[in-house]
Amino acid sequence: MQMTREIYWNVGHAVVLPMYLLVLAAFTIMVWGFWARLAVWRQGKPLDRFDRKGLRFKRMLAEVFGQSRVVRVTDGGLPHALFFWGFMTLFAGTLLVMLQADFMAPVMDMNILSGSFYLGFSLVLDLAGLVAILMLGGLFIRRFFFRPQGLEIETGDYWIHALLFITLISGFLIEGARIAATELTQFPELARFSPVGLFVAGIMAEISPDSLAFLHKSLWWLHFALVLGFIAALPYSKLKHILLISANAFFAPLEEKGALATIDLEDEEAEQFGAARVTDLSWKDIFDTDACIGCKRCQDVCPAYNTDKPLSPMQLVKQIGEVAATDSEAELVGMIGADAIWACTTCGACQDICPANNEHVNKVIELRRNLTLMEGSFPGDEVRTAVGNMEVNGNPFGMAFASRGDWAEGFELARLDDGDEADILYFAGCYASFDKRNQDVARNFIQICNAAGIKVGILGKAEKCCGEPARKLGNEYLYQMLAMENIETLKATGVTKIVTTCPHCFNTLSRDYRDLGLDIETEHYSTYINSLLQDSRLKLNPGETQHCTYHDSCYLGRYKDILSEPRAVLNAAGWKIVEMDKSAYDSFCCSAGGGRILAEEKLGSKINEARVEQAAETGAGILVSNCPFCLTMFEDGIKTGGCEDTLRVRDLAEVIVERIGG
């Protein structure tokens, strides 16, 4: 006997035409739904996310079929991925059946669903269906009985769970009925390759053939109706995420992480800067709001949300979506609230963990640009003062610009503002220039370079704030003013390599300044020191092993993917790292990003205290950081959070300089 099965058994080939017509109708309803949505998305401003299509398509396939962003969080993510793979296999199987029954057989008189391939096909599909049902059940229990905090339940969730569950179950019942009526007695060897179907058939074995036929036919139509419902409901329910998140994997930015649109300040036609209304955002920003599935992962990792500030990245996205769908003329700040907009530290954790490739941070920046550039508002008076200081003296403290290079007194340094030459230019940044603690870090870095025989130059008073805090606060004008001055100064030195100790300067110089014409290679000192070690230019004497924990600053780790180099440097110096729960890409912000370094943290609890506590819990006793903002915040957090007896914070340069030798 041929190892195959009769397609359209019991329902007959007469169903083909009405079946396809109904499918067509369902598809029409679906397309119409998305089409209607198009108008909402198109309210946004143009943005080219159709360039480099091959690259985008490849990424989309990898992310969708690999479920790579979904499994980033295993709780919920892993069952989802397994369900997806199961369901996808069933879908592929159904397509194959369709191909066979309505194309291969009638047109080419072939049967690909036969022989050992059919055996494998049956087995795989049965197991896929089983996995899908089990995972769906698990997800159902998770959502409705052990609901994780912050996960919202909508009425639609019940319907979707029911739809999927009944669809899957009815599939097995149909199979069971068919097997009970046919293979169970006629071809049991074949039935063994449908273990779940066989199990169901076993239960149905006592039912009379007529009843089985009737049951089978009824279930077939039910199953078909549910599939039609699934297709038609796609754009009108959460199911839309299947298509929209897939699309977002295509639309996600290909630019370097953290890239912001550089506003053309010469554009005399421009009347609006930043986003006051939803129409000032890009179409992708609005599209994101539909792609959001509400998994609340962004909210779970948001430092602002976790310290009781009025910001949830998920709510922000949803609120924008609500405005886009209802009243595109409404002021976004009214819906979202200025406090929420200012609370963001731009740490990027939300964006990094979002399975839908939503871009939260850029939305916040656009909202801030409106507040700053159009309304001249600030998160607080202290920020107003700091910004004024940056305008006048090129640093947020209001220290005399002429004293910027004073920290380096007593060091043999090339003064690149005076025409000296050097191997590298050390762009010190404001904190290393003026803050006593960070001045030590700067001096330590110079010592490390000197030990490696590197001649270091600085800009001294010619250096200005890189503009990063201003830019992240939305003040693109001030940022560009500072950037242009720095770029001119940097270019005039003729150096070929810039090193920073500040990840914020590093991001700004190495990425943001490119838009404004800087093309000098820029590196963070953690990778620079690592390469000095690799090249054996720098020799360390590891000595006795000591324990520390290491904080990945957001702008080094998440934004620049620099995770292993600083760890390698620490290891080379004899430090053993006791990792925090939240490390590497999951690192928790110190509170100072997004220009918050200039602002007082008035709402909720303190982010820096939360982080310091996490560091103290490792028991390592020493927290090593790589960023002047982090160092400052942790010093504060240790004092105010009462960790003085259990934790000390040190900079990477400080712990390395002690081990120079060998």
């Binding site: 607080g380 202290e382 003062t385 700091a386 200081n389 947020p396 403290f397 209001g398 220290m399 904190y431 003026f434 803050d435 006593k436 603690r437 200039l598 602002a599 007082e600 303190k606 400052t632 010093e635 504060d636 004092k639 105010t640």
Partner: protein
């Protein structure tokens, strides 16, 4: 040399700063004569002629009329210098008198150096000597620059009659000072508590010192964050930026945000166990001591 002292009167009282004008005249060794828009009961007690214009007629603030009174006295006495306190009254009236006489004015004199008037400039970072070229000159004196003398003998009061014409300006009255949260920006003395004070209970030691010095209590950010002192006392970029004449930092290590908020202080005393604390760089006097030991002794001394 003759100096006309323009004394100041508010709400029925002669202001004490009037006696700083006397001290200034004594420094110059000049002959004194005074003018006051006030009343008989509040004339300055000094052994000199005092021209008195009746405040009931002239009003307490009426620059055109007060100017006329001063000019009338100038007319009678022909002084070399016409001296005001550098106060809301003095800096308002002095230029009006100067321009009427077309004489040079030197504002906020802090001292006399080699016969020239010394004034501060650029937030006291620089000093400037000013030399009026006119036969007589108008001066305003920085508050406290010349220590007030004690009231002396009863004056020889001479009444001035002045035409009452406000010339478009009407003084409506006074508004009492609000009972407000601490405004450190205008405090002359600030005594700040930092984390070095150890615990909330010790804040009272610092508050007592502030009181003994006639100043306000300030606090660093960690102290405010720990809720030892309320936020209205916070000095620093996230609190208030201050510019007192004297700033006493007790157990403040000197985070950059704090230094940025107090660097405009004229004179800084830091009391800290750590000789190398950043605050030391800002300090005119660094007292290397435990705040808890040092402050109570200082307070006791000040209280006499």
């Amino acid at each position: 040399m003759k100096v006309l002292l323009v004394c100041e009167y508010r709400e029925g009282k002669l202001l004490d700063t009037s006696y700083e004008l006397v001290a200034f005249a004594d420094t110059l060794g000049a002959e004194k004569v005074a003018v006051l828009v006030g009343d008989e009961a509040a004339v300055p007690q000094l052994d000199a002629p005092v021209y008195l214009a009746d405040v009931a007629l002239c009003g307490e603030y009426n620059p055109a009329v007060h100017k006329a009174a001063v000019l009338a006295a100038v007319e009678k006495e022909q002084p070399d210098y016409i001296v005001f306190s550098h106060s809301s009254y003095g800096w308002d009236l002095a230029p009006r008198v100067a321009v009427a006489l077309k004489v040079g004015q030197v504002t906020e004199v802090v001292g006399i150096v080699d016969g020239d008037f010394e004034v501060g400039c650029c937030n006291a970072k620089m000093r400037r000597k000013v030399k009026p070229t006119t036969a007589r000159a108008v001066l305003t004196l920085q508050a406290g620059a010349f220590a007030a003398v004690a009231p002396q003998a009863a004056p020889r009061v001479e009444r001035l009659e002045v035409a009452i014409d406000g010339q478009g300006l009407t003084f409506v009255g006074y508004e009492a000072a609000e009972v407000k949260v601490v405004d450190l920006t205008k405090a002359e003395v600030i005594v700040t508590a930092g984390r070095g004070v150890g615990k909330k209970d010790n804040i009272s030691l610092i508050a007592d010192l502030a009181k003994a010095m006639g100043g306000e209590l300030g606090a660093s950010r960690p102290v405010v964050d720990a809720e030892w002192v309320e936020h209205s006392h916070q000095v620093g970029t996230t609190g208030q930026s201050v510019s007192p004449k004297l700033y006493v930092a007790c157990g403040v290590s000197g985070a950059i945000q704090h230094l940025a908020g107090m660097k405009k202080s004229d004179f800084v005393v830091a009391i800290n166990k750590d000789k190398d604390a950043p605050i030391g760089e800002m300090a005119d006097v660094l007292v290397v001591a435990d705040v808890l030991q040092f402050v109570p002794v200082l307070t006791a001394q000040l209280q006499g």
